[in-house]
Symmetry: C2
Subunit: 222 residues, 2 copies
Amino acid sequence: MDFFDVVTTQRAIRRFRPDPVPDVLVRRLLAAATRAPSARGAEPWGFVVVRDAALRAEIGRLYLQAWEAAGTFTREADADRDVKESPHYARMMRGADDLARSLATVPVLIVCCLDHARLGPIADGIGGLRAPGAAYASILPAVQNLLLAARALGLGSTLTTLHRVFESNLRVGLGLPASVEPVVLVPLGFPLDRFGPTRRRAVEEVAHLDRWGSPFVVRAGT
Amino acid sequence: MDFFDVVTTQRAIRRFRPDPVPDVLVRRLLAAATRAPSARGAEPWGFVVVRDAALRAEIGRLYLQAWEAAGTFTREADADRDVKESPHYARMMRGADDLARSLATVPVLIVCCLDHARLGPIADGIGGLRAPGAAYASILPAVQNLLLAARALGLGSTLTTLHRVFESNLRVGLGLPASVEPVVLVPLGFPLDRFGPTRRRAVEEVAHLDRWGSPFVVRAGT
């Protein structure tokens, strides 16, 4: 599939068909993930592919609790007041709600982890990060490769971080070593939702030339 | 270009030809960047395209200072002892040294920013982040799209975070609002170095099935 077709049609897929996802496809996603850059070339990533039904059921149960608590907080604090009138918001929230209610039955969950033991001076050795930007820049590009590769293979996925609410339980369930931080949870399966094209803010709105606020516009002949 | 060809040949390019980079190509990279996911669909990114020669010269000067200070620290603390015997390390460090010495003449620098004012409850409103993973997951996937799109268009780029050392100066130079965090600096130009294929740790070494330490292996017939 053409690169730009993949990039412009990749979007969050939150509803999945029950069909199993072949190991060979999972392996291709993970291989794509590992092509990403990382600080010091240390490749401080690890991926836990969760297929076990009991484990998915337990993660799904905790995820739904976390989702409901987050929803209560968001409503009470009106925390999404800046985005809730945007055209995508209602659709996104319905999808996220459906995902939370069905996570246990999504065929595969991939927990994308950052191993602090491979971060050298970027980690502080006691669970914290001296340079969080550089640390997360050594796992999140790999996650994006994974999401794009899923799209290229006709698989749906989405990037979630709500598992951080029940991180201690997740650590026990997956047997994560103390140095390993579960950064992103990616549900994966054949999509019920359709892929994009996606809609985004225009480049002109987010790009600046030399100075914030100075518009980047394509000059004639360049 | 085929998606998997892009992913498997994208690599850090740290030496550039002096040829100018057309605005239309820069615009295509930025359009690809904006297709990435973001928390709450808020698209909290901004990109400063630095073309001005005086600004690049100043950033280059500060970057080289930061690079030399980092080198002294790394040598004295032996901070890269865990990776310095790896096959790529010496080549990577020569490339990074060449980049630091020539940054002022790289045709374009793209400063990829995260606007905390668009993070809602993820930011704490006083410059910090309540959920750093979710925050950086709203800019670093966009950066990876940008690096991949550069590769697809025959442009070289690399992900750097060393500018954080002189962040206050950079903020002034680019006129960044207080809420805007410059997360990644991407040098961009036509490559002198060659693209990949890249070499990475094997999938078998980084993938686990259901539990950390339990090997993920492709089962026959799946």
